[in-house]
Symmetry: D2
Subunit: 344 residues, 4 copies
């Protein structure tokens, strides 16, 4: 039984970790921390967990207690994992960080986008970017894993087959992404109110979103060189889900893209290439650790349109984190992640 700790368990990725781990046969949540909710039972905050975690309460994060865990998930705002990860690793605890702290390999770039110095640059060299479809072998041997962001997961999985095969004009990639409101977290912000985000659609951060450098870094790795990406995120009136609509120009229109995508992901348990002509809905992955992808070439032209959907809280966060844990601990990668998406 893997002894699990969760730091910062009051947010949506925290409760989602608890939901998924409740069904995991080889893992057990030993400790969950929250400074603000110290002493509160998790079921008082999240009644959906009643009957599953009736004895678990939030506690103040404490390195000694956390260090007794086999693995600690950070479901925190950026900056927190920087401060604690080193100590935990020293204690032999593995760290799976759902925040942005170790996603960018370049500390300078991190500092630029997050507006503060990187707090643990010495750990960057060993941090593994936890996208199993790219880094499965490194994850297996990692001590510190940076779970990809939600937009980056949907976008990279959609672009990878094109870029890895050198098929796209890498200088003109566009990711027009639509996210549910849970992507903004469980924070009391005016813009996330039902009355503000409901019944409306808007783009945001067109000037530059923090996920842009993360996506670019991943695409550069896939392309083996520089990429030019325009990333436009949109706030969509739904709770969960990301729909990435990706545009790339291909030079050779004779390539069978459907086969290419199917082959790339043939052995991936959590990437589903849909039949030609499909239009995946975000609800088809609600609550499930799956990315569904469809690839189109409208009007037979040279512009490829890839549709890629995930649940931002599952394959885009907590589900992918558990997938990483399964790989790390040599378990069946699908353990605890077998549930069917909730539809309708």
């Amino acid at each position: 039984m893997i002894k699990v700790g969760i730091v910062g368990g009051t947010g949506y990725t925290g409760v989602e970790l608890l939901r998924l781990l409740a069904q995991h046969p080889q893992a057990e949540v030993a400790v969950i921390t929250s400074r603000s909710e110290d002493g509160v039972k998790v079921t008082d905050m999240y009644p959906n967990l009643r009957g599953h975690y009736d004895d678990l309460a939030f506690s103040v994060p404490d390195a000694a207690t956390l260090g007794g865990c086999d693995v600690v998930f950070f479901a925190t705002p950026h900056g927190v994992a920087h401060a604690l990860a080193g100590e935990l690793l020293a204690a032999g605890t593995r760290v799976i960080d759902l925040s942005a702290d170790f996603r960018l390999q370049d500390a300078e770039e991190w500092a630029k986008w997050y507006g503060q110095a990187h707090g643990a640059p010495e750990l960057l060299s060993e941090a593994v970017y936890g996208l199993p479809e790219v880094n499965r072998e490194q994850i297996r041997k990692a001590r510190l894993i940076a779970v990809p962001g939600c937009y980056p997961t949907a976008t990279q999985l959609g672009f990878l087959p094109l870029l890895e095969n050198g098929l796209a004009d890498n200088s003109r990639l566009i990711a027009d992404c639509k996210s549910g409101v849970s992507g903004a977290g469980r924070a009391a912000k005016i813009g996330s109110l039902f009355t503000e985000a409901g019944e409306s659609m808007m783009a945001y951060a067109v000037k530059g979103h923090r996920h842009l450098p993360e996506i670019s870094q991943g695409l550069r790795r896939a392309a083996g060189g520089g990429v030019g990406l325009t990333f436009v995120p949109h706030l969509t009136p739904m709770i969960r889900g990301i729909h990435a609509t990706l545009y790339a120009t291909v030079a050779d229109t004779s390539v069978d893209l459907q086969s290419l995508y199917e082959q790339r992901y043939a052995n991936e348990p959590f990437v589903d290439v849909m039949p030609a002509g499909s239009h995946p809905e975000t609800r088809s992955v609600r609550g499930a650790n799956v990315c569904r992808i469809a690839v189109h070439r409208p009007q037979g032209g040279d512009l490829v349109v890839v549709l890629s959907v995930i649940d931002n809280l599952v394959k885009g966060a907590s589900g992918q984190a558990i997938q990483n844990m399964n790989i790390l601990f040599d378990l069946n990668e699908k353990l605890g992640l077998g549930n069917v998406a909730l539809l309708p």
Copy 2:
């Protein structure tokens, strides 16, 4: 392994049976029928099932094939089970009917509310009303089970402790119920459009709803006598969930209702009496086979207000159907029903 057949699998209770059975370790869906979708793969209709039922296709209902199953679920409009149940029972197959066909014990009353003659009155005497919290022992020995409706489940579970103990004025019971739109099924009706049901609230069928006689029948059984019930259903702009707000006058205000409710359901795996003062949200049961209940007596008066929430497609339909199957086949009642509600 229990061999399961599903008749009428294209609706929401059908896909919900498939979702839940995919996680059931002792049951296997052998056949699923639909006249209109004969030959269509279930994953083409419901992409959320991809990876789980890739080889299953709808077929035309056929008594011989269905008769080879250990149990057949009817997820059909009323009238269909009437026609097929007898033949299946004769073949030794157990029948769990999610439709209204066998819920009312009185064929005349059924005919009055459903506007057609009852099609199998000879089976009524052996049909067991599948509310485990009331009829667990009869379910265990049943051949034919009538799964309660969604409103009736939430309402009866909320009223039972009061009525079984003779505490309420049974002549003045009120059930003000709010249902998500999935209660109307997957039917192309104007009133169920996103543009019609969204961003709006309305009562309907105040004159008389088909669930009224079913609820009354259950409450009479609990009360051991006649009851006067006013039932007002409301269409609520959400996909899943029923919130029943129940009103009853009590003569004796000294009774500790919190204890009464907690004791009544102490051994019930799927009824959760919440702490005093709680306000259960429907989302706390989304996708889960649970009824959460809170009991209030506002301002210390003699009017009791019970709040009872379920997911209409789970504890109000398919989850409860599987709970019945578990009891029927002497399995652990919770098998396949352990998933946590999806929140947010």
Copy 3:
């Protein structure tokens, strides 16, 4: 041209006043205040107002400036009007308060429900409760008007015909009310997030809501004596709208309630008694200053069910405030309030 001031214009009742006043031919917004947004253009905060109020900016509230207005609307949290109203009245400015400050006639009761001493008890005797359907003549001569709350408006208009005619058992009135999330205001609260309030239904404040004493006060006036009211508000996943479902027992079931209601409101421009058997939807009043009512007696029993719907921000707040202004200034009561509800 009536010179209008608005105190506290950043909330939803503030922007709704601006929306409605933009179409009012006899009123002009001269000043709008907000401490936190001093200097910000209203169109920067509310882009829907672009083209209508391009030169208007929020300013710090100042009695001198406000005193130059013919009328000042308070669209503030409770407590603010207490502090300013007296000074404005002294300056000859009329005050229309959308907050709760002057709704209760009893300062003690106000203090009990609002948890602080009443700040202007000396003004209570002249404050007029601004429900035109009850107090039109007093409103005409008033200097200080307390605009009714949203739940109180829907509930009182629904109960009035029964209570004024002594038809109901006044000791057992029930108001089961469903409100859209905008009723909680434009405040950064976790419970009002899209991710918390969306796709879910819940009751709240069953123990006692601040609108209870206001409703009771109005019902006592109508009944000419004491009333026993149980009021259960529910948070509904929609932006605007209140649906009040009201229950009352009548002694005499021979009364023609449909006629009674039609006659009571025959001359009311903003109360619409719908045909017998109707189920009004909240969207049928979205954005419009109307209360639509239907009256039912299910199964021919002695329990009357009244369905009453309003837009909480219009007839439940800003629209009603302007209706009061029109009466106060001897204008056509419908001026500026003629727009049709937005459907779908």
Copy 4:
């Protein structure tokens, strides 16, 4: 007073015409037709219209009656206006067609996309495409106006300044558009159910949507030559609104696009170029006849991102139709269209 007829008034563009015309001081609805609802009062179908059209009922379309009107709006599926327009024009009645019947100038292309022969090719030469921002002078003299589709309105207004000035690479235009569900009309389709379209996002018709040739035709006119457009529409879980996110590459990055857009639309009453850096929300135009536009050049690159939002039922249909009527009858173009968008 302009005497107005409406053919096919039961859909959303029909009720929206009624809503807007109720506030129009110079127009009066004399007749509204529907074969299926003959004899039904419009207020029985659309209770939001109660108090405004209490005497108006649907009637079977009849050329004689319609021919007595000054103008007839067609709010019908495609094909209907083909059959009737000629006769009405002959009677001296002007025709404003909200359907697709006269939008494409090429009958062959129309036939290809709509799967049937064009029913009135002889009228094509005089049909004017009713986008006032392009064709105001032709509209003034027209007898037959084809009101643009919703996607085409948002997309063309967003691209026009770039294309008219030859700034974009016209061979690589992308329109990633998000539409509310009302764009699918008031038709009983499974895909438009609350339970299907709610809480989900999906692209559709990536292969080719009927609005593609209409948009291309308009863009060719603006560019004075061929264009290559990729158009990907998405179904968004909201009732109203279109958000067009437009991508174009510019050769000269020194052009001040903000000024260019502001100048292009400086005299347009219904196009609002927002300040640099803005992200228009669809709710900022809900119910209003406005297109709000923001223009970005992310990261200072050569890819321009234009955000263009409209209410699909207003500026994308009925509001624009009335704007055309105003121009046609030499009225103030803003007459009846002055209402503020409903927010929240």
